[in-house]
């Protein structure tokens, strides 16, 4: 019965599309129970389109496909339950917005579009992916695409959450933001190619987390904040081209972490700040900046216990010429700084 209801909803959505060229189309699907599938396909031929799918239950799937040269396309998918899948495709418009909200475990959300996308997930073992490809052209005005992923636990620590944002294919002025709260073995990844892009990953109350930002192009900004009890975690930023800046902060009771920035090209800037506990043992932090090319700036600030077992380690390697490195450590006698410029 529930599957039949789904089919009717699909038919209605398609019927609206077929009869309403250049007009605003809308489709709403509401389902409860398990094992349901909902598909909304809209091609407004210059008009607007909106789709809303709501599912309550387990093992449901929702697909929203908005194609054609429409305007102001919006897609909203929300689900409550476990093992649900949501996929949104907005192709052919630069003004679409897509939002997926999932509450439960083992859920998966994917958005493919070029404008504004957001995914919010609460629970364990959830996967979120936003793909925004070729969102702008060189010389075009206005702001680029924006993508936001928020993953949180549902009252207890979550496990194995994964968030990925890809803004590639010469996307300009794009913004990517991932926030993860209270998780174990969670990962956040941002890949950007283009120019004037911004990527931010915020993780807090995490164990064995991983944050990775890769950027290719000039005038990019990458920021990773692992603060408030982020332990045994890694943060990594890789940037190529020129005039990029990278920042990693691991502090406020965040221990046993590693941070690395790798940059090539010219006029790159990298800053790593780490502060572990000032008491306790076996609480360390390691920071590495590798820069190839000329006129780079590397800065690392570390603080903590600084004993041999709770050491802080700085490694800065710069090749070529006209590079500058700054390193500051506070703590005991177990800290070390290594700077190589050649």
């Amino acid at each position: 019965m529930k599957r039949e209801l789904s089919a009717i909803a699909i038919a209605l959505a398609l019927a609206y599309c077929g009869q309403a060229f250049a007009d605003d189309n809308s489709a709403t699907v509401t389902q409860s129970g398990g094992g349901n599938n909902a598909t909304v396909s809209q091609d407004p031929f210059g008009g607007g389109a909106s789709a809303a799918v709501s599912q309550d239950g387990n093992s449901n799937s929702a697909n929203v496909n908005q194609t054609g040269a429409g305007r102001d396309m919006t897609a909203t998918v929300s689900s409550t339950g476990n093992s649900n899948t949501a996929t949104v495709l907005q192709d052919g418009t630069n003004n679409g917005s897509a939002s997926v909200t999932q509450d439960g475990n083992g859920n998966k959300a994917t958005i493919n579009q070029k404008a504004q996308a957001s995914i919010t997930q609460q629970g364990n073992s959830n996967t979120a992916t936003i793909n925004q490809v070729g969102t702008n052209c060189p010389g075009c005005g206005g702001n680029g695409a924006s993508a936001t992923i928020n993953q949180t636990s549902s009252g207890f620590t979550s496990f194995n959450d994964s968030a990925t944002i890809n803004q590639i294919g010469l996307s300009f002025r794009s913004n990517a933001a991932i926030t993860q709260d209270s998780g174990n073995n969670s990962s956040a990844t941002v890949n950007q190619t283009g120019a004037d892009q911004n990527a931010t990953v915020n993780q807090q109350f995490m164990h064995a987390a991983n944050a990775q930002i890769d950027q290719t192009g000039h005038s990019q900004t990458a920021t990773i904040n692992q603060t408030l009890s982020v332990n045994f975690s890694t943060a990594s930023i890789v940037q190529t081209d020129s005039n990029n800046s990278a920042s990693i902060t691991q502090n406020f009771n965040s221990n046993n972490n590693t941070a690395s920035v790798t940059q090539s090209g010219t006029l790159q800037s990298a800053t790593i700040t780490q502060q572990n506990n000032t008491t306790g043992s076996n609480e360390w932090n390691d920071a590495t900046i590798l820069q190839s090319g000329s006129s780079h700036l590397a800065t690392i600030n570390q603080g903590g216990v600084g004993t041999p077992s709770s050491h802080n380690t700085v490694l800065i390697t710069q090749t070529a010429f006209n590079n500058t490195a700054h390193a500051t450590q506070t703590g005991g006698g177990g800290n070390s700084i290594t700077i190589t410029q050649h």
Binding site: F321, G334, I337, T338, I339, T340, Q341
Partner: protein, 102 residues
């Protein structure tokens, strides 16, 4: 200038594979709780660097304590200045300078 005979600061420095390795060691009464500062500046063909290391150490039963470790890549024409100071409370009790060229 610090000249307290109870505190002897030695900068252990070696150059291995174009890397200057600096490990200051303080000799002082066992159990002393000391504070140190090591500041370096280096300038050369490939660039310049500044470092600052500071904190507290407790002198071991053998009457010595190793301070932080600093490794700097150095070339033939590089210039560097490394200053290490050790304090007992607010009092400067030892100071050493390592520079190149002399």
């Amino acid at each position: 200038m610090a000249d307290d005979p109870a505190y002897k600061l030695h900068i252990d420095s070696t150059v291995q594979a174009s890397q200057l390795i600096v490990v200051p060691v303080i000799a002082a009464p066992a159990g002393s709780r000391l504070r140190y500062e090591m500041i370096s500046g280096k300038q050369g063909h490939s660039g310049k660097s500044n470092t600052s290391q500071s904190g507290g150490v407790t002198v071991g039963a053998d009457g010595s304590a190793k301070l932080s470790t600093l490794r700097l890549g150095v070339g033939a024409d590089d210039r560097y200045l490394i200053t290490v100071k050790v304090y007992d409370g607010a009092k400067l009790v030892a100071e050493q300078v390592l520079r190149h060229p002399e």
